[in-house]
């Protein structure tokens, strides 16, 4: 099972490319797609989900070109878009029954999966209420359930934790980890902690281009010995931000504790700390490399 993306590009206007020359080879596991807003994540997701035609390049699912034969992938695809609606008059269970029929599932399997999924996404008590009355988080969970209905081999989830409360977010991350195995899961988000918890590989994307693809530990190794932490007076923060990549701040009694990514020790009192994925992500998307 593999998904091969080769020279994939999407041009929206004559002078604007949403994605440019994107290459990636994916095998089973959870792939975290990280990037700032407007980086091209959703464009990539929509092309992989067969609903947007690429301008250039190919996407192959097990060597079948999905631009030419989208249904080959659609049969095994689960997709949760970033923005989606629901049919407000249907109940949660009815909406899932409808989606199961559209996905070509037989009634018996559909019933079993829906029953199980309602438990998994914690919607058993709300299953018989019209979707029009669901809260944002509940709608998101219905979206997650519909994506998992057909036990997809390729699961694409675009900003799946938006609208979920902290507990549900943790629950969803655990679910993704449980689902990983003989399937490819692409998790797109700009929330680093979501990826940190679930991803076996991470792809960082910015301004429509891939800028890094590696296992989390390899990405963390990029900044080994380059992340520093110390406390500075509040008024010194602005000046520090101008000359160094500040990846975090916490207010303390005696000033502000800062995390800085730097090749050399940025201050005599700075202590070297273990890099986090957030440090790596900010370092990569800042595009300026490590400032001295």
């Amino acid at each position: 099972m593999k998904l091969s993306i080769s020279h994939l590009s999407k041009q929206y206007r004559r002078d604007f490319w949403g994605l440019r020359d994107f290459d990636l080879e994916l095998t089973p596991g959870v792939i975290g797609l990280l990037g700032p807003n407007g980086a091209g994540k959703s464009t990539l997701m929509r092309m992989l989900a067969t609903i947007t035609q690429p301008t250039e390049g190919t996407v192959k699912w097990n060597d079948t070109d999905i631009v030419k034969s989208p249904d080959t992938l659609r049969v095994v695809l689960g997709y949760l878009p970033q923005d989606f609606g629901i049919y407000p008059n249907l109940t949660g269970a009815e909406f899932l029954e409808y989606m199961a029929a559209i996905k070509g599932m037989d009634a018996k399997t559909a019933r079993r999966r829906i029953e199980e999924l309602l438990v998994v996404v914690n919607l058993v008590n709300a299953a018989k209420r019209p979707l029009g009355g669901y809260s944002g988080g509940m709608k998101q969970r219905v979206g997650i359930a519909q994506a998992l209905l057909n036990d997809p081999q390729l699961l694409i989830v675009d900003e799946p934790t938006v609208g979920l409360d902290p507990e549900e977010r943790v629950r969803f991350r655990n679910l993704l980890s449980d689902l990983a195995g003989e399937r490819i899961i692409i998790l797109s988000t700009h929330i680093v902690s979501d990826v940190e918890a679930a991803a076996t590989e991470i792809v960082v994307i910015n301004k429509g281009r891939k800028i890094e693809h590696a296992a989390p530990e390899k990405l963390l190794a990029l900044l080994d010995g380059k992340v520093w932490q110390w406390v500075i007076p509040s008024e010194a923060l602005t000046a520090l931000k101008q000359k160094a990549l500040v990846s975090g701040t916490i207010r303390r009694e005696n000033g502000i504790q800062v995390r800085v990514v730097s090749e050399a020790r940025p201050a005599s009192e700075a202590e070297m700390v273990t890099p986090s994925l957030e440090d790596v992500y900010l370092h990569l998307v800042s595009g300026s490399g490590i400032r001295q």
Binding site: R46, D83, F84, Y87, Y98, V120, S135
Partner: protein
């Protein structure tokens, strides 16, 4: 000054939002096409025209302006209502309404802003119509001297004031929860529009037609004294010609038309009074539920509270595991289609009130009890207008509820979901006509039956095609009600898609609709294929 600025920006934003849509372009092309039809080449059949008793004027500026204004008054005002309606609903659905509700803007200003933006849209369309009229005067080439006032004055002094009323009534219908949907469209068509036309002479029949009649009567004896618009009339070529120089615009006429503006302001104030300012708690209709078609909303506040009460612990110790699907080919094709059909039917009828079923049952029962002739003439049209809200969401449902990306990324959509959605529409027509179908079979009236079956396929195919291409239900609702009216009430034979009229079969009308249905089916396939690859 600040109020005017707010109004300006509201109207501007709303106008830009609309004119930049693909739908507006389609509407504009449709309007130009209508103008082209209303000013046919003298050799061509008149699809719709003034019935003057066998006379005509030449295509000069005055005649083109007055005649087109009368025809537009008959057709464009209705069309404009369906075009303009839905802007407040759009704010509600998009969530912008919630933001607007938290700003200091008053309900009066908001409603006036919507009215103003409606006016800007229709004024732009009228300008396009006038431009098309000028172009057609030269294309038809019977009189090359362009008189700008003669060609524009009927539009400016008759059509635009009438559109002022239509624009504000569209806002009024948008402000009232239970008039927002298909029920409101039906009420406007059958009640509000005829009432407004009669009371206010919106189309300007009593202003323009007397001038035409006088000009005709000065030359000929038996000119038609009553303004009559017919469809499918013979070509103009060879008809006796009378000179026409336009309407004499007196101060009485002008003040009479200007009086429509204060009436519009009163309607706007009523709309403002009834507008709930996007309060979800007020979204429930004040009408009994039996009158509801669809779009039931539940107050968000109530839901959030009830959900909080029912939330189960997040981490369940013995959380259910998901059973893997080991084989993806264990269900037969017939079972897949059967499941899909059941679900589409459920989706289509979800939210339909018991009153609808009661009326449907009553009509089917009546079609079995009354004489066959009266059943075909009266019950069939009623039976085929009742499902309007069900048909009108076909093809548009996915866009309306924002599920396109989810639905269109499922396998074999074009081969499965689309034909099943179409089939549900056809089944509705067949069930509504089931009593008549049985009677025709027993009576051996196979020709009428065939024509009716073609009609049963034509209507949902038209709905599906219009829903797919316009991504909304209003285009079908407006078009279908109009065609239905001309077919059922006015008896225009070319529009007899139900096969009701005695000579329709012999004249091959059913084959025309069979052909149109096939073309529409292709349009459905092409449109949906396009949507699937552009649903982002």
């Amino acid at each position: 000054m600040n109020t005017l600025r707010v109004l300006y920006h509201m109207a501007r934003a709303d106008f830009l939002e609309r004119v930049r849509s693909y739908r507006f372009l389609v509407m504009l092309l449709f309007t130009i096409f209508a103008t082209y039809i209303f000013i046919p080449a003298p050799k061509s059949v008149q699809i719709a025209g003034l019935q003057l008793g066998g006379y005509r004027s030449i295509y000069n500026s005055a005649w083109i302006g007055s005649m087109t204004t009368l025809l537009m008054g008959e057709f464009f005002l209705l069309f404009a209502f369906y075009l303009l309606k839905g802007r407040i609903e759009q704010d509600r659905v998009s969530g912008v309404g919630q933001i607007i509700a938290t700003t200091p803007i008053t309900k009066n200003i908001y409603i006036m802003g919507k009215w103003a933006s409606n006016m800007v849209v229709v004024t732009a369309m009228v300008v396009v119509i006038i431009a098309a009229c000028i172009a057609l005067q030269y294309i038809r080439g019977e009189d090359y001297s362009l008189k700008l006032w003669a060609i524009t004055s009927p539009f400016v002094l008759v059509l635009l004031p009438a559109l002022t009323i239509v624009a504000v009534v569209a806002v009024l219908f948008d402000s009232i929860n239970w008039l927002r949907g298909a029920l409101g469209n039906v009420i406007f068509f059958f009640i509000a529009y005829p009432a407004l036309t009669l009371a206010l002479d919106l189309a300007g029949n009593n202003i323009i037609y007397p001038s035409i009649y006088r000009a005709c009567a000065e030359q000929f004896f038996n000119c038609n004294p009553i303004r009559q618009i017919d469809a499918g009339m013979p070509p103009l070529l060879g008809l006796p010609i009378f000179p026409y120089h336009g309407v004499s615009w007196t101060m009485d006429i002008i003040t009479g038309r200007l009086a429509l503006i204060p009436i519009g302001i009163l309607i706007a104030l009523l709309a403002s009074w009834l507008f709930h300012r996007f309060d979800p708690a007020e979204s429930e209709t004040t009408l009994p539920k039996i009158f509801l078609w669809q779009n039931k909303t539940t107050p968000a506040i109530k839901l959030v509270t009830s959900m909080a009460d029912e939330t189960t612990p997040v981490f369940i110790s013995n959380q259910r595991t998901l059973t893997p699907i080991t084989s993806r080919a264990n269900s037969s094709l017939s079972e897949i289609y059967w499941q899909l059909l059941k679900q589409e039917i459920k989706l289509t009828f979800k939210g339909v009130s018991w009153l609808w079923y009661l009326i449907a049952f009553g009509l089917i029962t009546l079609s079995l009890l009354l004489s066959l002739d009266s059943t075909i003439l009266v019950i069939l049209p009623m039976g085929w207008v009742l499902p309007l809200p069900l048909w009108s969401v076909m093809g548009a449902r996915e866009a309306r509820h924002g599920v396109e990306q989810i639905i269109f990324s499922t396998p074999h959509h074009l081969q499965k979901q689309l034909p099943i959605a179409w089939l549900v529409g056809v089944l509705i027509a067949l069930v509504m006509g089931s009593g008549i179908i049985l009677r025709l079979m027993f009576a051996g009236q196979w020709n009428t039956l065939l024509a009716m079956l073609i009609g049963a396929m034509f209507v949902p195919t038209l709905a599906l095609a219009m829903g797919i291409w316009s991504r909304g239900s209003k285009l079908f609702e407006g078009t279908y009600l109009f065609v239905w009216y001309l077919s059922s009430i006015a008896g225009v034979q070319i529009l007899d898609y139900m096969g009701r009229l005695p000579n329709s079969f012999d004249d091959g009308i059913q084959w025309f609709y069979a052909g149109v249905t096939l073309v529409l089916m292709m349009a459905c396939l092409i449109g949906r294929k396009r949507q699937i690859s552009h649903s982002s």
